[in-house]
């Protein structure tokens, strides 16, 4: 038994897909939907997946919302005496709307796995290695040489009196520095409870988990100062566990690192 009226929403879907295609072929950049484009190579990979999956999600949602809206408007009760036909199944239609979602899932799963492999990949020889430690309520960023010795240290001033959350980029919060275009290894640990090392502009967060060392890479592709937060609730002053990251040209990074080393923190 055919279901009349299905044709119209399909037409809507086709229109949406075509306009999407026009958008892409027209050379426009991917829509952000309010998210960051990603200031690292890893973050950009995430952004691409985000944008495409959000497009797909909104198309599917628009179709289903359209069907709901259609059903709600077109089939509202006008004649209280009219009894609708008592149909209650349509096997071909049911098979179709079971199969299509399975195909969609297979496709997004494929792109999810390839993207997450890109983001989680760690370089064999990173240019910089930073040991990041989260503690209640601050961060320490310890720059290490290839032998594992500390050559520079940036950290939250200990036991400062609680203040209102400021801007993460303001001077009372630690700011660590990364070289543009080079791969930095982050070795993330926690000194006490679970913290979340989160840099929104990098489209990335990872738990600082007690007893676990998490390792990942950043390859910044944009210079600038980016705010960072603790994202995982960690107790009283969770809101104030702020930091920032400054991405600079490699030469400027070297100058900064030399100055930090010379300031004697490392000795």
């Amino acid at each position: 038994m055919g279901i009349p009226g299905v044709g119209k929403p399909r037409w809507v879907a086709r229109f949406l897909l075509l306009s999407m295609l026009a958008l892409v072929l027209g050379g426009c950049t991917l829509p952000t939907f309010g998210a960051f484009r990603g200031a690292t190579a890893q973050g950009q990979a995430e952004f691409k997946l985000w944008s495409w999956m959000t497009i797909a999600g909104l198309v599917v949602a628009a179709i289903v919302w359209g069907l709901i809206l259609w059903a709600v408007i077109a089939y509202r009760r006008r004649d209280p005496d009219k009894m609708p036909r008592q149909f209650h199944s349509n096997l071909p239609v049911e098979i179709i709307y079971t199969t299509i979602p399975l195909i969609i899932v297979a496709v997004i799963f494929f792109y999810t796995v390839t993207t997450e492999n890109k983001i989680d990949a760690v370089a064999a020889r990173p240019a910089v290695t930073i040991r990041v430690t989260g503690f209640q309520w601050g961060w320490s960023f310890s720059y290490r040489n290839p032998a594992g010795r500390q050559i520079a240290l940036v950290e939250t001033a200990q036991r400062r009196p609680p203040v209102l959350a400021g801007n993460p980029t303001s001077p009372e919060y630690p700011q660590f520095v990364l070289p543009l275009g080079e791969t930095t290894r982050i070795v993330l640990q926690s000194a006490d409870v679970v913290h979340g090392f989160y840099i929104p502009a990098f489209n990335f967060s990872r738990y600082a988990l007690p007893g676990v060392t998490n390792i990942f890479d950043f390859t910044p592709v944009r210079t600038g100062i980016f705010p960072g937060h603790c994202s995982q609730y960690c107790g009283l002053y969770h809101a104030e566990m702020l930091f920032s990251v400054r991405v600079v040209k490699p030469s400027a990074f070297q100058t900064w690192l030399n100055a930090e080393s010379a300031s004697g923190v490392a000795a």
Partner: protein, 589 residues
């Protein structure tokens, strides 16, 4: 297998129950084992927790309406979001469904006189009330109520980081409500398996009852793990067990695994009952049978099965879970959920859809839940989760989901209130409640998606003016005021129905399942007589004999179905009240 048609006339004489001559008033309420009394107690109690948690949410929104806000101290704010989440999840959304609505409705829908274990049922309620009260007593302690978030991640939840009686009360409270839920699960499953009326085969049960069966099974899978984990946490705090402590060789992330092994099935323990309500409401108000009934049952069971293997999608950013597995399993849940959506639409399709308040809420559920579902798909992708985990994007996602469930709960309240009280709620006030809730939900939670994408972490007591979060937060706070008025109007509606009752009659919605065959409210043991059950819609079959569905016409999946329904041709000769009616107890004779 032709037992349905050839069943002889059954006359069940049941003696007058003794407790009818028992205590009255308060004592009767306290000692009652009637599923209807217990169900109502559950609903009222959980609604009180809902109001309390809602007021906490209003405080949270007031705090976040301004940058650098000092309305609440950081400490108080932490208590507020912890208790808001705990009350809503543990004491409202779950118990109002499996303790309240299911307790009241399931025995009626299957033609049973009560739950299988009435005294266990009473124990469940009193454990729940005791547990809930204990949790609230945290506010009376010198330290504070629990303030480690509703997920109580170790090691923040140990005795060093969160000392005091408040967190202990939280743990013990959840032990009590955990046992309460387990007993309710046992009761629901037993009742649905063993107490169905003659003719009420599994595939004739209303979808609400089906979903409660699956919910009951999920409770039995998930809650024992959680309850055990709470014991371990208590041992860590008081006996130095070091199960979740690195220092003694323990594993903090084990708590997260145990918690979410409960926590994700819990999402469906919360959701499935409301899926059931919406399914039945849509069918009744569209004047049609449920589209794809068997597909619906299959989808419910698949969702429940999958939900036990997706817990670590809450832990993608821990760095210690197998991302592709949990990602794929999470994506797969979209398939049966999608089937449900299309079945809901198919039920309305070419129907005659009347937008009384319950149906409005059901439609609001569909629209809102879809958004929660789509954002859920995004979050099931580990890379996207890396970018949005623990931000307001996640907060927005699960509030889209949970607020859609709250709308479905209101659909259920408005739908069954006449059955439970014998009075109608006012349509005008009901529609005002709906529109304020629908608009309020979207105004409150849509901006949270955006502020999350801008990088606002969850559970922060304050943010800076320079963060750029202010405008979106103000819109959210304004939306929460709409929600406040929505719920207030509902309370007014209930009061009005009490002061100036409009009698409901037995079946005000022209509904189809068995609860509408008895009086409103139903008598002591529910039914004086039960119509013959020859299809999924026994009451409809009686009221609309010309629009019955003879089961034989259904597409058959196997020979079993065909033979089980072999005798349904007799339908034309029988009717409600005829010789074929199954008589139970009729005091008038």
């Amino acid at each position: 297998m032709t037992l349905v048609a050839e069943r002889p006339v059954v006359l069940v004489e049941s003696p007058e129950p003794e407790h009818e001559h028992g205590p009255s008033g308060l004592l009767k309420w306290i000692t009652s084992t009637d599923h209807k009394v217990i169900g109502k107690s559950y609903m009222i109690t959980s609604f009180v927790f809902f109001l309390l948690a809602g007021l906490m949410a209003m405080l949270i929104r007031a705090q976040l309406a301004n940058p650098d806000s000092t309305l609440l101290s950081q400490h108080t704010y932490n208590e507020m979001f912890t208790m808001h989440g705990s009350l809503m999840i543990y004491l409202f959304v779950g118990p109002v469904a499996f303790g309240g609505l299911a307790n009241y409705i399931v025995p009626l829908q299957i033609g049973a006189p009560d739950m299988a274990f009435p005294r266990l049922n009473a124990l469940s309620y009193w454990l729940y009330l005791g547990g809930g009260s204990l949790m609230m007593m945290g506010f009376l302690t010198t330290g504070s109520a629990a303030d480690f978030g509703w997920v109580a991640y170790a090691p923040l939840s140990n005795s060093i980081n969160t000392p005091g009686a408040g967190p202990d009360l939280w743990i013990v409270a959840l032990l009590l409500t955990g046992f309460s839920a387990i007993f309710t699960g046992v009761n629901l499953v037993s009742t649905i398996y063993y107490l169905r009326a003659p003719g009420m085969t599994m595939f004739r049960m209303p979808i609400f009852t089906w979903n409660m069966l699956v919910t009951g099974i999920l409770i039995l899978i998930a809650f024992p793990v959680f309850t055990s984990a709470l014991v371990l946490l208590w041992c860590d705090r008081h006996l130095g067990a070091h199960i979740f402590e690195v220092s003694g060789g323990g594993v903090p992330v084990l708590w997260q695994d145990l918690f979410w092994f409960f926590g994700h099935p819990e999402v469906y323990i919360l959701a499935l009952p409301f899926f059931g309500i919406v399914t039945d409401v849509i069918a009744v108000f569209s004047r049609k049978p449920i589209f794809g009934y068997r597909g619906m049952v299959f989808a419910t069971i698949s969702i429940a099965a999958l939900s036990t293997s997706v817990w670590a999608h809450h832990m993608f950013t821990t760095g210690v879970v197998l991302l592709p597995f949990f990602s794929l399993m999470s994506y797969l849940i979209a398939v049966p959920t999608g089937i449900k959506f299309f079945n809901w639409i198919g039920t309305m399709w070419r129907g005659s859809v009347k937008f009384d308040t319950p149906m409005l809420f059901a439609a609001g559920f569909l629209v809102t839940f879809l958004l929660g579902g789509v954002s859920g798909i995004l979050l099931a992708s580990p890379p996207i989760d890396f970018a949005t985990h623990d931000t307001y994007f996640v907060v927005a996602h699960f509030h889209s989901v949970v607020m859609s469930l709250v709308m479905a709960a209101f659909a259920g309240f408005f739908y069954w209130y006449p059955k439970m009280t014998g009075r109608m709620l006012r349509e005008g006030l009901g529609k005002a409640t709906f529109w304020l809730m629908f608009v309020g939900t979207n105004v409150t939670f849509l901006p949270m998606y955006l502020v999350g994408l801008k990088g606002m972490p969850r559970r922060i007591a304050e943010y800076a003016a320079t963060d750029g979060f202010t405008t979106l937060n103000r819109i959210s706070s304004a939306g929460s005021v709409l929600l406040f008025f929505s719920v207030s109007i509902f309370l007014v509606n209930a009061l009005v129905s009490w002061w100036k009752p409009v009698p409901a009659g037995d079946n005000p919605w022209d509904a189809s399942s068995l609860e509408w065959a008895t009086t409103s409210p139903p008598p002591q043991h529910n039914f004086l007589r039960i119509p013959p059950i020859r299809s999924q819609r026994p009451v409809w079959d009686h009221n609309h004999p010309e629009d019955r569905i003879i089961e034989r016409e259904r597409p058959r999946l196997g020979g079993l179905v065909a033979s089980a329904n072999g005798g349904t041709v007799l339908l034309d000769e029988v009717g409600f009240g005829s010789a074929d009616t199954i008589e139970t107890r009729d005091p008038d004779r």
